[in-house]
Symmetry: C2
Subunit: 355 residues, 2 copies
């Protein structure tokens, strides 16, 4: 469910920014040191795009691709959701006499049934009562699951990042300047996202419980039980939304709260991965470099290991890259290195691109 979107135009921009940055630095032997000491200032995104601030720090590489197409991705998800809801409502409204159970308003029930099916809550307070309606429900639950996956993989993450920035901006309001806030977010991205989603979840649990107590006239325990049963998509169905206003509330509340809980579990998993990755990085960096390591790292076989070779070796040890990531790039390098000097220069490029 954690498939992240990639948009290509981002990358040339990113590399150009880095290129410009490096050109600004005076050319001396000490440049390597500069690049090292200022990793945060280096990030081309931290100042320009608010939502992409932490993506560079995130040790889970898949997340690194999020910030590119949040706009279009969100629009696409919203469009698919509207389309799904529209078709669902129309279908279940047309077959409303083949659905049995507690009825309120025709349209409201159709939307409510679509949401309850899509999120796999499946209370059973409304159930299909004819073979064709049953098959229709089957089709909608499968596509609903896929749609929830789509929402989780792009839209939810985007919205949480937005809220995260808002929250930490408020919390850091006493500090002056945007930069501090950005750094704060950078330091522990996954943890902050967990906190934000957890707070949202508490909010939805409270609002759902209060609503069920006041509007649906349930007891407190029953209301809380119905809320838990709903957000986990358990949906035993002994307690559900049975009034018209209850179902109108449920349409929005069920969609948002079930997705928030799923997102919460995803972030917990991401947090675990991040922690594990961080400790792995620490371990790889602290372990003793042996002569065997030097030999392994010596890519161009000049008997010494340059900074770049060392970086590749260590990133391989960290599992961030593999032989198979490197091989095609080396092939490309060989193609460009026309004079076979083992290095690329401007003349190589001119030769390679003219031939």
């Amino acid at each position: 469910m954690a498939s992240k979107e990639v948009i290509e135009p981002l990358l040339p921009t990113s590399s150009n920014t880095i290129g410009t940055r490096i050109l600004d630095i005076p050319r001396s032997k000490g440049r390597l040191r500069r690049t090292k000491s200022a990793p945060h200032a280096d990030s081309p995104h931290s100042e320009t795009t608010g939502t992409g601030t932490g993506a560079d720090t995130c040790p889970v590489p898949r997340s690194g691709f999020i910030f590119g197409n949040l706009g279009p991705s969100l629009r696409r998800v919203a469009l698919v959701l509207i389309l799904y809801m529209g078709i669902g409502t129309l279908c279940f409204y047309l077959v409303r006499y083949q659905i049995r159970g507690e009825k309120t308003n025709g349209i409201v029930d159709a939307i409510y049934f679509t949401i309850v099916t899509m999120t796999t809550v499946g209370y059973g307070d409304l159930v299909p009562n004819s073979p064709s309606t049953k098959l229709l429900a089957c089709a909608f639950v499968f596509s609903g699951m896929a749609l929830v996956g789509l929402i989780l993989s792009s839209a939810a993450d985007y919205l949480v990042e937005k809220q995260e920035i808002l929250l930490f901006k408020t919390l850091n309001a006493h500090q002056n300047g945007h930069c501090d806030m950005t750094k704060e977010i950078d330091t522990d991205k996954a943890r902050n996202k967990c906190i934000v989603v957890f707070l949202l979840l508490i909010l939805f649990i409270i609002s759902g419980t209060v609503f069920l107590v006041t509007i649906e006239k349930l007891g407190f325990i029953d209301a809380f039980y119905c809320v838990c049963s709903t957000i986990t998509t358990l949906g035993y169905g002994d307690k559900s939304f049975s009034t018209k206003s209850g179902r109108i509330f449920a349409i929005f509340w069920i969609l948002i709260s079930t997705i928030t809980l799923a997102q919460f579990f995803l972030y917990i998993a991401e947090l675990n991965t991040e922690r594990r990755q961080k400790s792995l990085v620490k371990w790889v960096l602290s372990k003793k470099v042996t002569n065997l390591d030097l030999e392994a790292a010596d890519l161009d076989n000049d008997r010494v290991v340059g900074a770049a070779e060392f970086v590749i070796h260590k990133l391989k040890e960290m599992g961030k890259i593999t032989e198979d990531d490197i091989a095609p790039v080396l092939k490309e390098f060989e193609k460009l290195d026309v004079d076979q000097s083992g290095t690329l220069s401007t003349s190589d490029l001119t030769l390679a691109q003219s031939s």
Copy 2:
């Protein structure tokens, strides 16, 4: 939910293997070319561990960490599952008179109710009928969701890989040798896993439908509808397992089939990510290298770009690594480069480790 496990001892082994391999290659200017032309033979895992065969090829870096601790992870998941089921069964057996609905055998119903709750199917054929039982069910559904996430993140992936190897071994039985099979699996890991899980899913749908028709005496459409309603965890509850033998079957079938469907959606997402990553890699490699790229890639500022520098630059463009991955390694490099020559040699190591 896609949090993958990392075990540390794997990595030194991996790097040592690479070290040994490079030592075997005659030291000449042409060595770079050799490394490039044989990426598959390079993989230290492809011959030794059956389950890890494709992990090096997988463009989704998170999956690269799976193969390390499948054994312990699987055992841990099995242990947690048994513990959860044991406590669940005991609790719901003790409060069996506070659960209303269609009853069969006390123990069977307790296990069945635990499974129906844990997987969030929640038919509602058995529902808690007292405040304490309702709160108990709430506790079990939350922990059940976490447990399903745990199963999805480790055990299910492991079992699918096992089955994948079995399947493709059978399909490739006419080809001689283990190596061909390994290569076949390597070429399109995510697609193969999708196929395997899809076939399993079909198997579970058919077996569930047949069982419901023969044992629970449902009509074909109703049986299929109940199967769909169950594996998606929708569980309207108008059709469910109501006999003792039906529930014994359901205990195993619900757990396996719901996890298989969730895993199927996860693999579809992984497949999409993989395809997108592949096209991004292709695009980054095919795009024209400019002088600006050369300047950006020139990490050690010697006015030429070595193979390793080129690799880092391109991997950064692909989004596989970021500045923040590189910065701490460069810091470590600087610490080791005692004579500040810009390269690491045996003498650097001796100096750095004696001080």
